[in-house]
């Protein structure tokens, strides 16, 4: 990214970005909401209007701490702190295994002596040392250094409103997890005669000795439902929330047509499963060492690593091939958030990169 682009970028969004940076400085384990708010585009033009649009305006922020000269020196000076990651000369002294997402664990900081190229798709966490040392560099950083020192006593942070992405495509990874299965429940509100249903419906099977529910299937959307005599129903197999709702309605309609006074009450999505592929192999042994509190890797029992993310509460199955399965979500946004959290961690375990060079990234984690 060239200097002028940086300036343009930072003139518009500098106020918001300073908060990002400061949060990083003050809390090593930056609040995960910072990350979740992220999936902003890299292009400055996109980011600026977005940050405005979400209403995270500078009005709420107390900027009195900012030194006066910064008002006139928005561009390069600020940019160097605001986007430590932006500048080409910034050393990649960043902790890749993401503290924010993991919420803990001590990760080794890898340093590269030479200035690396910056990566476009890295959502990497900065830690204090990186900020401080970067700030200490003599590249037009005096205001930056002042900012960082002046900012340390600053404690109050306006929490970021998470920006739900307009499209699920996040610039962070460029990979979108695909939903594979949705499990939802519905109450039909009246007791049902399962034997009768099994007799009258073509697509039903009922074996009371094996399981106490009717298993019904429909073709479109291709799903399966378990219908219990209490009138409760579980619908599985849909690939999206809307599909699941439509399928559940169809089942309710079938039960209605069979003569029961079924209604469609309390439709709730209980679980969502998604999968994606990061397209590079992952060192699971390394990942379990650095993220011990969250990961469980027992190759004798299961070939994948089970990563229990705390926020959002999602379980990820990570395989050596780079395929990731995410489950336990009640909402689509949780899946995307979880993947954006894990992606930088995984990239760190892509064997050749123990750090992630950054290129034009503002938000981080």
């Amino acid at each position: 990214m060239d200097e002028s682009a940086l300036e343009r970028y930072f003139d518009e969004s500098i106020i918001h970005d300073s908060n990002f940076v400061l949060e990083e400085e003050l809390e090593l384990q930056g609040p995960r909401r910072v990350l979740s708010s992220t999936p902003s585009a890299q292009r400055p033009s996109q980011l600026a209007p977005k940050s405005r649009a979400t209403g995270r305006s500078g009005d709420d922020l107390d900027l009195s701490f900012l030194p006066d000269e910064l008002g006139g020196q928005n561009g390069p000076g600020f940019s160097s702190t605001g986007v430590l990651t932006c500048s080409q000369a910034v050393p990649p002294e960043t902790k890749v295994p993401n503290d924010g997402a993991a919420g803990g664990g001590s990760d080794p900081v890898e340093e590269r002596p030479e200035a690396p190229e910056l990566s476009q798709d890295s959502g990497v966490s900065l830690d204090c040392s990186a900020l401080a040392s970067a700030a200490a560099r003599p590249l037009q950083r005096t205001p930056a250094a002042e900012l960082s020192t002046a900012a340390s006593p600053f404690c109050v942070m306006t929490p970021m409103t998470p920006m739900t992405p307009m499209t699920p495509v996040t610039e962070g990874s460029g990979i979108v997890p695909q939903l594979q299965n949705i499990v939802s429940t519905v109450t039909l509100g009246c007791p049902l005669d399962l034997k009768f249903i099994a007799r009258q419906a073509r697509n039903a099977e009922y074996n009371p000795k094996r399981f106490a529910a009717v298993i019904m299937r429909i073709r479109e959307p291709r799903t399966t439902a378990l219908i219990f005599s209490s009138g409760k129903m579980v619908c599985t197999g849909a690939k999206s929330e809307e599909e699941s709702r439509l399928a559940a309605r169809k089942y309710a309609r079938v039960v209605q047509k069979l003569g029961f006074s079924a209604r469609f009450l309390e439709f709730k999505i209980q679980n969502m499963v998604a999968s994606c592929d990061v397209c590079f192999p992952i060192r699971l042994e390394g990942l379990v060492l650095t993220h011990q509190q969250f990961s469980s890797y027992e190759p004798e029992l299961f070939p994948g690593l089970i990563y229990r993310m705390v926020k959002p509460r999602i379980v990820l199955l990570i395989f050596v091939s780079g395929k990731v399965v995410l489950t336990g979500a009640k909402e689509r946004a949780e899946i995307y958030e979880a993947f954006e959290n894990i992606y930088p961690i995984l990239k760190g375990f892509r064997k050749h990169l123990l750090f992630l060079p950054l290129k034009g990234r503002v938000w981080l984690h």
Binding site: E114, I175, S240, E242, E243, Q293, K351
Partner: protein, 448 residues
């Protein structure tokens, strides 16, 4: 002793005697035998303190028999494994703690025994004494999956962290099992256990770098490594001809089926490296690579570098320099290697340049992955084929079954009656179905 003043209500005689021969003293009429008055069993007053029922009937609380047995079993397992005393004591502590917890208090005895084994496993892991889950499940005669399940629960209950072992940690103990030292087998087939272990560990490390180890069961890999190490330490015709099965019989270990696949994979990896040996003039195939294993291991870093370079060159020949994708794949593999080589400065500066290309390559690689069309599937699949070393599950990717095209629905659409009708039986059909069920039912009854 008679009571003169009383009269029997039955017969009126005054001949009343005191009958206190038995437990209760009674006044009985001697003539008719009726009881005039009874002793005051119930009227006796007791002026002591109140004694509660539970206290008088309480049994002294003995330690649970199953707990004692379980602790004995834990001791037994520790002694069989010959672990250090601290490990045994730690395991006993864990067992006592976990046993009392509600998750494990009311489970079957079998599960409690498995819990004992898991406690030993956890304490071995914490004290860095390498054993595998397989060993514990063998000792417990249990299913490794069940052991794993109990282990995970126990870890949660006790809130401890027990770091897992890598294959290289367990390797040494595993190598001890192979009875191929000079005392056990004839001279030509014998191998000193230290040398064997060292070479096997080197092979496992090399395999780990080539993605053969991650995610796989450790035992077949260890077996394959020992086999290849044994063969390569003295690659004469006799050893090379000996199959894995015969070797296992010789060494008195049980052969594992997947070890054969691992051997093939390791030979493939050694072949890729062995190709680069400049002084080997004959034709190299994965079969005759075993004789070169010593050289490969000795010069593995430089051979890796060479292999990567020639891989890049071959890729560049296949696709002209315009395409960035191949170079991105190479950077990942070249960087893989640089890590192995301990990040020699030369390599890392080369990497720095390549990373830039790599970044671009990666991006272009990722954006296609968003689309779901066969071309991208091929591309994403092929990343495994394009690098020098990739996990075998990627290289031999299974063909994905045809995915359903996503439905674009809002969830609130109208549901057509005809569609729903299609799921309901016509009355005639329902009658036929009922009849058939009855027939089946009665015929079942008759036959049974």
């Amino acid at each position: 002793m008679s009571r003169a003043s009383m009269r029997c209500p039955g017969c009126g005689s005054s001949n009343i005697v005191d009958d206190d021969l038995y437990c209760q003293a009674q006044l009985v009429c001697a003539d008719c035998g009726s009881v005039v008055s009874e002793g005051s069993l119930a009227e006796e007053s007791f002026n002591g303190p109140d004694i509660s029922y539970s206290r008088t009937t309480a049994v002294t609380r003995k330690p649970c028999v199953n707990l004692i047995q379980g602790l004995e079993r834990v001791k037994e397992i520790s002694r069989i494994l010959r672990v250090r005393r601290e490990i045994e004591e730690l395991a006993l502590t864990y067992y006592k703690q976990a046993y009392e917890h509600e998750t494990f208090l009311h489970v079957t005895l079998q599960r409690k025994e498995i819990l004992g084994g898991c406690c030993v496993l956890a304490s071995c892991r914490q004290q860095r004494w390498p054993i595998t889950v397989g060993t514990i499940s063998c000792l417990l005669n249990g299913d490794p999956a069940a052991v794993g399940e109990v282990y995970q629960e126990m870890i949660k209950v006790l809130n401890i962290q027990a770091p897992t072992f890598s294959v290289t940690d367990v390797m040494e103990a595993h190598c001890q099992e192979y009875k191929v030292s000079p005392g056990h087998v004839p001279e030509e087939l014998a191998e000193d256990s230290k040398g064997l272990t060292k070479r096997a560990i080197a092979l496992v490390e090399l395999a780990a770098d080539s993605w053969i180890v991650t995610g796989r069961q450790p035992l077949p890999i260890m077996m394959a490594a020992v086999y290849l190490a044994w063969q390569s330490l003295k690659p004469n015709a006799q050893r090379l001809k000996m199959s894995l099965e015969k070797f296992c019989k010789l060494a008195k270990v049980q052969k594992s089926k997947t070890a054969g696949t691992r051997i093939t994979e390791m030979k493939g990896m050694l072949y890729k490296l062995g190709k680069e040996i400049p002084w080997y003039k004959e034709v190299l195939t994965p079969d005759n690579v075993v004789s070169l294993v010593g050289d490969v291991l000795q010069h593995r870093f430089s051979l890796l570098r060479r292999a990567l370079k020639s891989h890049e060159l071959s890729l560049l020949e296949k696709c002209p320099a315009g395409q960035v994708n191949p170079s991105s794949a190479e950077t990942s593999s070249s960087s893989d290697v640089s890590e192995d080589a301990g990040q020699t400065p030369v390599k890392s500066s080369v990497n720095a340049e390549k990373e830039k290309q790599g970044r671009d390559g990666d991006e272009s690689l990722k954006s296609p992955s968003e689309e779901s069309n066969p071309q991208t599937q091929e591309l994403t699949q092929n990343w495994g084929k394009r690098v020098l070393f990739a996990p075998p599950c990627v290289v031999n990717a299974k063909r994905k079954r045809a995915e359903r095209p996503p439905l674009h629905v809002t969830g609130d659409e109208e549901i057509s009656d005809s569609e729903i009708e299609s799921y309901i039986r016509t009355p005639q059909e329902a009658r036929d179905f009922a009849m058939m069920q009855e027939k089946l039912f009665t015929s079942n009854n008759e036959s049974s």
